[in-house]
Every structure is written in C-alpha cells, then in structure tokens.
C-alpha cells in the first residue's frame, strides 16, 4: 500500500482550517504544541505501539526460560520422554541436584502430556478440516445471500463463544450422550487388531481423549470455516465459469479450480485452528478428566500440557523449594515452542506455496 511521506516538507505543518479554530489562538498553548508536532506524535506513538507485541513475546519467552532453567537442568532430556509425574514429598528432605533444591522423590516426565496435546489437536484438525471446507462450500456456492449471511454469522458467533461455556456443555451434555449412545456401538464392534484395538472398550463416562478432540474440533471449525468462506469469496468467477463451460461438474470445479486457488490460505486457516486447539485450556481441562497418563484407549481420561499447567498451579505453590513452579514453567516453554514452531512453519508454507501455486487468496 502506498505510504504518504517525505513530501510535506515545503507545506505548512498545520492546514489552514486548524489554525482558524479558536483553540489554537494562544501561541504557546498545549493544543498548539500538539498540532505543530502532530506528525511526530503520531509516528512515535505508533512506533512504540507496534514494538510492544514483539517486546511482549520476547519478555514472555525470556521469563519462561529463566524460570524454567532449574527444572531444565534437573529434569534433563527425560522431561520430554519420561512418563512419571511425581511432585515429591513436601514433608521429606530437600535434596540437591546440580546445586538446585527440589523435594525428595520429585520426578517429572511430560511425555503423556505432550502426546495428549498432539492427540487431541490431531483429532480436532482431522475432524474439523473436511467439515469446515464442506460447510464453506455450502455457504458460498449453493446459497442465496439472504440465507448464507445469517448462517455465516451464526458460525462466527461460535468462534467468539467463551470456551468455558463450550466446556460446560461438553462435560454435562455432550460427553455423557456420546458415552451412552455413540461410543458403545463403535467400541463393541471393533476388531482386536493393531490400531483399531485403540477403539475398543471400555468407553468410560464421556470424559476423555476422543470427547476432548471432538469438542476441540467444534471450537476450531468456525475459525477454519469463516476463513475458508472468505477465501472462496475471493476466487474470481471467470476461471470457475470457464471450468463449468468446459463441462465440469461442481465437484470437479471445486477440486480443480476453487480449492487449488485458495490452498495456501486454507493451510493458514488450519494452522490458526491448530494453534487454538494446542493452547485451549479451560474446555480441555473440564473434558479430558485431567489425569496425567498416556491414554490406554481413545475414550479414556488423560490430560494435555495446557490443562496441566492450569490444574497443577495450586499444588505447585505448596512446593517450598519452588521446583514445581519451575517445572510448570518448563512445561509452558515446551507448549510455547510448539506453538511458535507451528505458527512460523505455517507462515513459511503459506509463503512458499503462494509463490508456486499461482494466485493466492490472501495477499
């Protein structure tokens, strides 16, 4: 976009109309000072404001890294691979490892949480992506605008809905319903073979991995649908009409023209959804059952990184050595790194496929 600048040097600093206002009458008033230095004030306020998100990001990562350092030293690599989560005895003796105090018997392995985070988000994205694209097609290609507008708005509503309310619905209404009527027939008919074994009973009470994944899918569907719908709206009509004139069916036009046109935009939207699924805390905390373990089957209670950070704070504060709080910082750092990597990866994918794959929806 064009930036205006550098050409106002020979022009009066304030336009005539501003000088004519009575406010500007005192020669050295505050208002006059503001008007005379208006451009500089705008520039510097904007410059300061725009750096703040970057500063906040650096600050956040620094605080996490500094706070997590003792935990990183003591827990070592086994933090990423181990599966025991033991805060240790707060009444026992304090022991020192590498000069860092922690309660006796404390041992932290976050693998179940990392795996749980990946599992719930994967289920969410796998379920949400086709549904979102289908719904976006239905909204843009099939409906008169008097119908698609309110429906599209309803979808946007869901995107802005408080996650605590969705969690409430998931744990009180949706989860029990699934556990009673949907999971049993699936679980009972699964053959006892690798992979599918994971779907066999017991189905539990509706708190667990699959329920959390489905609810997360519901939460990210609106994000992907709304973005995809906007992208479809930006595909120029001529290529589509041309394809139709060649005798293509709607499905073929969708597959060969529309989807190719907006491919990278959909990747971006999906990663936006994935980011939300990875970091979602409250709803997941309510629905997973918050048990730190690798889920033995797809219906069983487990936990994710975000939910554990939320759930463990009260307990961590009782650790007099502060080691539990440091471990939570390490957990937060792991989640932050995952989230940043996913986000930057998506940016580079969008950029690269944007270069290769013809016109891209979002410039």
């Amino acid at each position: 976009m064009t930036v205006i600048g550098g050409t106002t040097g020979d022009l009066p600093a304030t336009p005539p109309s501003a000088k004519a206002t009575p406010r500007a009458a005192p020669a050295r008033g505050v208002a006059n000072f503001l008007l005379n230095h208006e451009e500089g004030i705008w520039r510097w306020s904007a410059r300061v404001a725009v750096v703040l998100p970057l500063a906040a990001l650096v600050f956040t990562l620094t605080v996490l890294a500094v706070k997590a350092w003792p935990a990183i030293v003591v827990n070592g690599w086994s933090f990423l691979t181990g599966s025991t989560w033991n805060v240790g005895s707060s009444y026992g003796t304090t022991v020192y490892t590498h000069g860092i105090a922690h309660p006796m018997g404390s041992s932290y392995g976050a693998w179940p949480l990392i795996l749980g985070t990946i599992q719930t988000s994967t289920i969410a994205v796998v379920l949400a992506l086709p549904i979102s694209i289908g719904a976006a097609f239905a909204l843009t290609e099939r409906m008169p605008s008097w119908l698609s507008r309110p429906l599209g708005f309803a979808i946007e509503l869901l995107a802005g809905f408080p996650s605590v309310i969705i969690g409430l619905w998931g744990i009180l209404t949706f989860g029990p319903l699934l556990a009673k009527h949907v999971y049993p027939p699936i679980a009972d008919n699964m053959p006892d073979v690798p992979v599918l074994r994971y779907f066999r009973p017991p189905v539990g009470h509706g708190e667990g991995l699959l329920t959390a994944g489905i609810v997360l899918a519901l939460m990210i569907v609106p994000i992907i649908t709304a973005t995809t719908r906007d992208l479809f709206g930006q595909v120029p009509p001529l290529p589509k009409e041309g394809a139709e004139a060649l005798g293509m069916t709607d499905w073929e036009v969708a597959r060969k023209v529309t989807l190719r046109w907006v491919r990278s935009g959909i990747i971006g939207a999906t990663v936006l959804g994935l980011g939300r699924a990875l970091g979602e805390t409250i709803a997941v905390f309510m629905i997973t059952g918050s048990i730190i373990r690798v889920a033995p089957n797809i219906y069983s209670p487990m936990s994710t990184i975000a939910a554990t950070i939320l759930g463990q704070l009260d307990g961590a504060q009782t650790d007099g050595t502060g080691f539990a709080v440091a471990t939570l910082a390490e957990l937060g750092l792991v989640l932050a790194v995952i989230s940043v990597v996913v986000n930057l990866g998506a940016r580079s994918i969008v950029k690269r496929s944007g270069r290769l794959g013809g016109p891209v929806g979002r410039a």
Binding site: V3, I4, L52, T60, R142, L168, W169, T173
Partner: protein, 291 residues
C-alpha cells in the same frame, strides 16, 4: 473412449451428488452444535432464573453475581482502553506510517510475524508468565492490574490486525486527495483516513472485547478470585464471570450449580451482544458503501 459413455457419466453424477450432500451435511454439523450449546445454556439457567442475581452480592457459593458482573465489565473497559490504544496505534504503524524497505519489500515483516505468533500463543502460558512475573515477581498479588496487562497482551494482536486491514481498505485516493489539499499526515490521518476506517476498527475492538470477557485460564493465574470488586489495582483478588462457571458447575449443592449456569447465561448474552453489535456495524457500513 466413447464406447462406454454411460458408466463414466454416472460415476461423475454420483461424485457430484455425494459432494453436494456432503457439503450440506458439513454445514449442518457446524450449525447444530452451535444451536445446541446456546440452547443448553438457556435450558439450564432459565428454570431457576431470578433477576436478583444481577444485583445481589455473592457469598461463597451462594447469593448473586453482582461483583462478578461488575468485575467483568471493569476488565473489559480496561482492556478497551489499554489494548485498544496500543493495538490501534500498532495497526496505524503497519498500514500507514511504516516506510517500505529500500529493496521495495514491505516493511514491518518481523513486527507482523511477532504479532501473528503472539495471537496464536497459548493463553495459559501468558497467564503463567503473568503469575510468575507480575503476581509474584513484582509482588502485585492476584489482582486487577496483572489481569489487565495479560488480557491486553492477548488481544493487542487482534486489534492491530483488524485495524491494519480496515486501514488498508481505505482507498489510496483519499490519502492522495488529502495530501493534494495540503494536509499534514497527522491531520489527514485524523480527519480522513481514520474516519473512513472507523467502522472496521470498532468491529475489531468489539471482537477483542468478546475474547477478553470470555477468557478464563489466564485470569485464574492473574486475577485470582473474589466476589466483591476491590478498590485497588493491586493486592486484592478480583472477581470475573467465567470463574463461577468453571468452578461451581460440579459443586454438590444445587445453589452453586445454579449460580454457574446463571453466570454462563449472562456471559453468553454479553458475548452475543458484542458480536451482534460488531456485525451490525459491518452490515451498515457495507450497505452505505456504495453511495
């Protein structure tokens, strides 16, 4: 090739019909849960709804939600002022003031990337940093100020982004016209560019407020919880509406659960009002755009 035209056609027909069916099913799968969640909130709250929860103070797990409602409104006002100012200025910089690089590349790449990463950042991690750095590190205690700082950091990227895209939709001709009339950049920003981008900016602000008022996880780590609005910025736990929903819903006594459902309904209404208002603004400006 032409020997078997019929099965080819019918395979394409089947693909076409199943595609159509699938898109409608997908749309239904998106819309039904939405209605179901809304209905669930209403059905759980309405049977024992008393208007008095709006102005009765809470006492532990009983009473009303006066403090929580006031607290959420105060949080939203604070976020509006802090994040609104910073976010709008950041958006102005990215769209209007940043100079392009000498290579012709668009400026602000790193800043925009940081903003994007921050908007996808897990809110619980931000909340944790708020706890470690502000609540404990600066000895502010669980209180309003750390909650405001963390919520603002959360929503600034949204506001910056929506401001930037609203400004980019202002036709270049407006700016050129303003410059041709001899206006300084500041004056033309104030009187021409920002004025025409205002509806888009306000829409972004309302969406950011909806996010702020529905957020729970970072507040638990920064605001703590209380049932009364304290008169100080720090060292006093602060009430907000999402907390009773999160903690009271599985309490053994019915009074507490009712309070959770009431809070959920009030929260839903607040968010709906904000989202509908933002949509109305978009709709009105779109309707007037062709004049």
């Amino acid at each position: 090739m032409a020997a078997t035209p019929r099965p080819r056609m019918s395979r394409r027909r089947i693909a076409e019909l199943s595609f159509r069916g699938a898109t409608y099913i997908a749309l239904i799968l998106v819309l039904v849960p939405m209605g179901w969640i809304l209905l669930g909130v209403i059905v759980r709250a309405v049977p024992h709804w008393h208007w008095s929860v709006l102005w009765t103070a809470g006492t532990g797990t009983a009473g009303g939600l006066r403090g929580e409602i006031a607290g959420t409104l105060i949080l939203m006002a604070g976020v509006f002022v802090i994040a609104g100012t910073i976010g709008v200025f950041a958006g102005i910089h990215l769209s209007e003031l940043a100079r392009p690089h000498k290579s012709g590349k668009e400026s602000g790449g790193y800043l925009r990337a940081a903003s994007d990463v921050l908007s996808g950042f897990p809110s619980i991690v931000l909340g944790y940093v708020g706890y470690v750095a502000l609540v404990v590190g600066l000895h502010w205690g669980f209180s309003l100020l750390p909650a405001l700082v963390i919520l603002s950091i959360m929503v600034i990227p949204y506001i910056a982004k929506s401001t930037e895209s609203a400004l980019r939709q202002v036709p270049t001709g407006y700016r050129e016209g303003a410059e041709a009339l001899g206006m300084s950049i500041g004056y033309s920003l104030r009187k021409v560019v920002l004025k025409s981008a205002l509806p888009g900016i306000v829409t972004g602000l309302l969406l950011a407020l909806a996010i702020a008022c529905g957020e729970t996880a970072p507040l638990i780590y920064t605001a703590g919880f209380s049932t009364r609005v304290p008169l100080s910025l720090t060292h006093a736990q602060f009430p907000y509406l999402t907390y009773p929903v999160f903690t009271f819903y599985n309490q053994p006594n019915a009074q507490a659960r009712y309070l959770a459902f009431d809070a959920a309904l009030i929260l839903a209404v607040m968010v709906l009002v904000l989202l509908v208002a933002s949509r109305l603004i978009v709709y009105r400006t779109q309707r007037n755009a062709d004049r």
